[in-house]
């Protein structure tokens, strides 16, 4: 990031390639559908370019970019004026089948990939059912590797609060995914 601030365009490409999937995943799972997630991801990186000089190296770049992403997502939600709802027919990611298939068939598919798909669908469904504040903490910790103190900075809450939300999120997920623990 320092090199990018000094005018090295290649440095930006490195950052972009490193964070584009995590940021996209975050938007997809936290806020909205695929098209909007693509648009928001694009906006985040353009914002990084425009506001690069405002990054002061006091915190990690990952913390900063996820804070930008979070704010972008919140603004988008505010503009859209609706909460994220998961449509049963909506494919939450390219690698999972629509959640509707979970209800459509009761008997498990003999194929392992089908079971995996169903598990992934269940996980997505469980994550979607979490309250937004627990969901964002869970996603940032579990899938993006941010430490609890960094998550506290991103969501602008105390570390203790972040850990509480994480505990509740894990409890809820554990309950939702009870059937997969055997």
């Amino acid at each position: 990031m320092r090199r990018f601030q000094e005018g090295d365009k290649d440095a930006f490409e490195t950052l972009y390639r490193r964070y584009k999937n995590p940021i996209f995943s975050f938007f997809l799972r936290q806020y909205t559908g695929k098209d909007k997630a693509l648009e928001l991801t694009q906006e985040v990186f353009l914002k990084v370019v425009r506001n690069a000089q405002s990054f002061r190296h006091g915190s990690k770049f990952a913390t900063w970019i996820f804070a930008v992403a979070r704010n972008q997502g919140i603004d988008a939600l505010r503009r859209a004026g609706h909460r994220k709802t998961t449509s049963l027919d909506q494919a939450a990611s390219e690698n999972t089948s629509p959640l509707g298939e979970k209800i459509a068939g009761d008997s498990p598919s003999p194929e392992r990939s089908s079971a995996r798909s169903r598990l992934q669908g269940d996980i997505l469904g469980a994550i979607s059912s979490l309250p937004p504040d627990q969901r964002e903490v869970f996603l940032l910790r579990e899938y993006h590797g941010l430490a609890f103190k960094d998550i506290a900075e991103v969501v602008d809450a105390k570390e203790g609060t972040v850990k509480s939300r994480m505990r509740y999120a894990l409890e809820a997920l554990r309950a939702e995914l009870e059937g997969w623990s055997d």
Partner: protein, 470 residues
């Protein structure tokens, strides 16, 4: 997941370590604490089950892969980023003279004024002042009362007073004897106080002079840059881009006088004159590069001069931005330590002083002095941005003096050593001008073709290339 209130027995202490279990599950505990907690979990059913639940949930969650953004938008985003970066670099803050540094930072008094203007602070300050004043008045009045009481004669105190007076009378001769010595001490003390006052006054006068110097520098610099801008708006090409005579002009020169000063050259500085054919040797020798022929110069007089003047104005007003440009390898040797204070202000001839002086000299047309100052900056400044700026202006000064070969050489150095210099396109355009003047058309053409990569300069470069073609 074992939580509070569930069936598994968990002690109060265990409830307190729930956060630690979470940290352990995510590897955020220090090794020693982690070992201790694992040992505890091995013995405590509640904690062990809680930890197992955490780890199992993590294992399940890990089955979800990261969503893939795809490559479709890569070109768009990276292209937009590249363009935005270029624009940011081109319009980024310039290295500025000290005046801009001083002006951009709020001084102590400005900050104090801003603070005092806040209502709450002002009220609190006023209240404190009133209290202090009241306390002082009360204290003094109490003291006065006490003194009055002591001085007023009272009947019961009369004998005591009488005795006191007698004692005073006895002590008087002794005191009188000591009077000359006391007087000497007193006068010495007065002399010392006077001397101290003189010293303080001298120091404060020196400080004021320093501030005055700084203010006058800043005023002069901003005034001269402002004048330069006005001149640029009113004149043709050459006065800004290299048409001025090498003799220094007074700052207050009238427009008529400026025209008179630049009316001697014989070269035709029209569009054809500048780019199509170099000027006659006699003019090069004279160091004069000609007047601007209205709006027909190779450098479109209005646009170029306004751009250059605007940029110079921007330079003077915006605060310095350290480390704006990257110094290329093989740059000057490590700048020497700043010289000790000697003369100019209390800080001595630092790089920023030299830069300010260089800009002052450049603005008033004293190219010889400007070159000396800028060279000093180019050799000794710790800031790559300032060094690049200084090199650029050495080149411009040489160009103004009609010394196109040295100017071209300085431009080459600048472009080679500072590839990220914010005014690189300007330097490239000016360098192309010099190369044409020297008859090096192919090099000039190559330079202009490089300039095509800069969106803001594309049209101008293309136009000049077409003219060279003709």
């Amino acid at each position: 997941m074992v939580g509070l209130g569930e069936d598994v027995v968990m002690s109060d202490k265990c409830k307190q370590v729930q956060d630690s279990l979470l940290e352990l599950a995510y590897g955020e505990l220090p090794d020693e604490e982690a070992d201790n907690l694992r040992m505890h979990a091995a013995k405590c059913d509640g904690c062990r089950e809680a930890l197992e639940d955490l780890l199992l949930t993590r294992k399940l969650a890990a089955q979800l892969p990261m969503a893939c953004f795809g490559d479709d938008l890569d070109a768009t985003i990276l292209g937009a980023a590249a363009e935005a970066t270029e624009q940011r670099l081109e319009t980024a803050e310039r290295p500025s003279p000290r005046v801009a540094e001083i002006d951009s930072k709020p001084g102590f008094f400005e900050g104090l004024r801003a603070l005092l203007l806040r209502p709450a602070f002002a009220t609190a300050t006023l209240a404190i002042l009133v209290c202090l004043l009241g306390f002082y008045v009360v204290k003094n009045s109490a003291k006065d009362e006490q003194i009055k009481k002591e001085l007023l004669p009272s009947q019961t105190a009369e004998p005591v007073l009488m005795e006191a007076e007698e004692e005073k009378a006895k002590a008087a001769p002794a005191r009188d004897e000591a009077a000359p010595e006391l007087a000497a001490v007193d006068s010495n003390r007065e002399d010392r106080l006077a001397g101290l006052g003189d010293l303080e006054r001298a120091e404060s006068a020196g400080g004021e002079r320093l501030q005055d110097d700084r203010k006058s520098d800043s005023t002069l610099a901003s005034r001269t840059v402002g004048k330069e801008r006005r001149r640029a708006a009113g004149r043709g090409v050459a006065d800004i881009l290299g048409g001025a005579s090498s003799a220094p002009r007074p700052v207050a020169a009238s427009k008529k006088a400026e025209t008179a000063n630049t009316s001697t050259p014989t070269v035709d500085d029209s569009i054809d004159g500048v780019f199509a054919s170099p000027p006659p040797a006699s003019d090069l020798a004279a160091g004069v590069t000609g007047t601007g022929a209205g709006g027909g110069g190779a450098f479109p007089a209005g646009a170029a001069t306004e751009v250059m003047a605007d940029q110079e104005m921007a330079e003077s007003e915006e605060p310095a931005m350290a480390e704006e440009t990257m110094a290329s390898p093989g740059d000057f040797a490590d700048p020497p330590a700043q010289p000790a204070a000697s003369g100019y202000g209390a800080a001595g001839p630092t790089s920023s002083n030299e830069l300010a002086r260089g800009i002052d000299a450049f603005a008033r047309g004293d190219c010889v002095s400007a070159i000396a100052h800028f060279k000093q900056v180019a050799e000794s400044s710790a800031s790559p941005a300032d060094r690049a700026f200084a090199l650029h202006h050495v080149a411009r000064c040489e160009k103004r003096r009609g010394r196109f070969a040295p100017a071209a050489s300085w431009y080459e150095k600048l472009l080679a050593r500072y590839p990220s210099y914010v005014r690189r396109p300007d330097a490239m355009f000016e360098s192309a001008n010099c190369l044409v003047r020297l008859g090096q058309i192919d090099k000039a053409r190559a330079r202009l073709e490089e300039l095509l990569a800069y969106p803001a300069w594309r049209d101008r470069a293309r136009k000049e290339l077409d003219r060279l073609q003709e």
